[in-house]
Amino acid sequence: MELSGEYRIAASKAEVWAALNDAEVLERCIPGCEELDKSSDTEMSAKVALKIGPVKARFNGNVTLENLDPPNAYSIVGEGQGGVAGFAKGGADVQLAEDGDETILTYQANAQVGGKIAQLGSRLIKSTSAKLADKFFANFRDALEPQEENTEG
């Protein structure tokens, strides 16, 4: 399924780009992320706990940065195995555009789930994916903006 969104971030394009490549920032922004270990500039391994209502599943997987076009665009791709719950994979193409002092971030994301969560929870897949994508980018924006406020204040 396809998802998309747009965020205005009160930070320069260079700052946003740097954050997009910062494993610590990503770890804070990926919803439910418990661990994100960098194995190279573009490869990370992750532990993510997902909670949807009564369902709690823990995914172990990888996050890869692809199609790097600094500081304009990249793709962030992830896949994880959730044991009995199945697996999830997804990716987002992210583009940055300068708008004065601020940056417009747009993304087109897709997500796929398999195994038990697909078999039993299909009604929730789309809205959950949309929510998680949105949460990630919202967290990302928030992660950049308070710094800005702090420096101003």
Binding site: G53, P54, A85, L120, L124, K126, S127
Partner: protein, 265 residues
């Protein structure tokens, strides 16, 4: 099902203490959602704290216009309560249509709203009636309680004790069941309250229960099914799945609201 430790709480305080002491515990009420999820191995709470036996959490009481329902009251007991049927038939009727008879014998109102399944029935009534959710720690207005799909304002160790609301002048619930699960594909609770018309929709929204303000405005002007004819319901933000797309759900929101209003007593 993974291993777990079962505790039967004797009081609200006991439940709060047990859940607080647990590593990754979960409150168990009727268990009609939690137990199947655990059977599917999609949840593995270390501890289960069963609140269904707490005496204070049972029963329906009516004082003046205020209706209070204990959180561990089963759907069957809500549905069958004669006082509630007289005071607010809409809620009793809603309870009578949840799941099937065996589920209604076990499932509870507290469990239903704490779970806030986007297709659950009770949240629509709670939101429409601006109910107050009373926990061991505080009172939460329904509008603040239902945060999003499966999300509530509850803390992990917070126990819902009761729910109360003012009986509306008129109220009814109209549900369009999913052909497979029989959960609400769209459920609309319409009520004429002291604060005006209220229309809350479950099953349709992709972030859980919500109020349909356009419908409310139309009904505030004229409380009748006909008043809804001109109201447009968009498909934006509505769920799409194998049972029906957002356009179909938008249509159902309209039809079910009309039916709820027509059925109001």
């Amino acid at each position: 099902m993974y291993e777990t430790k079962y505790h039967k709480a004797s009081s609200v305080a006991d439940a709060v203490s047990l859940i607080g002491k647990s590593d990754d515990g979960k409150l168990l009420s009727g268990g009609q959602t939690l137990v199947p999820t655990m059977k599917a191995r999609l949840a593995a709470p270390s501890d289960l704290v069963d609140v269904s036996g707490i005496a204070d959490m049972h029963g329906v009481s009516i004082s003046g216009s205020t209706v209070t329902i204990g959180a561990a009251t089963t759907h069957a007991n809500v549905a069958g309560n004669a006082d509630l049927q007289a005071k607010c038939g809409g809620v009793a009727c809603l309870a009578a249509g949840i799941g099937d008879p065996a589920v209604r014998h076990k499932g509870t109102i507290g469990g239903s709203i704490a779970n806030n399944d986007p297709a659950a029935d009770y949240p629509a009534a709670m939101l429409a009636l601006d109910a107050t959710i009373k926990t061991n720690a505080r009172e939460i207005a329904a509008a603040d309680f239902f945060v999003g799909m499966f999300e509530t304002a509850l803390e992990e160790d917070e126990v819902i004790v009761s729910i109360s609301f003012d009986a509306p002048a008129k109220a009814a619930y109209a549900k369009f069941p999913n052909p497979a699960s029989r959960y609400a594909m769209v459920g609309v609770f319409a009520a004429q309250t002291v604060d005006g018309a209220r229309v809350a929709v479950t099953g349709a929204g992709d972030d859980g229960v919500y109020r349909q303000f356009d419908m409310e405005a139309a009904l505030d002007t004229d409380w009748s099914p006909n008043a809804l004819a001109g109201v447009q319901v968009g498909s934006e933000g509505l769920l799409s799945d194998m049972h029906g797309d957002a356009t179909y759900r938008a249509n159902l929101v309209k039809v079910m609201t009309r039916r709820a209003v027509a059925g109001c007593a």
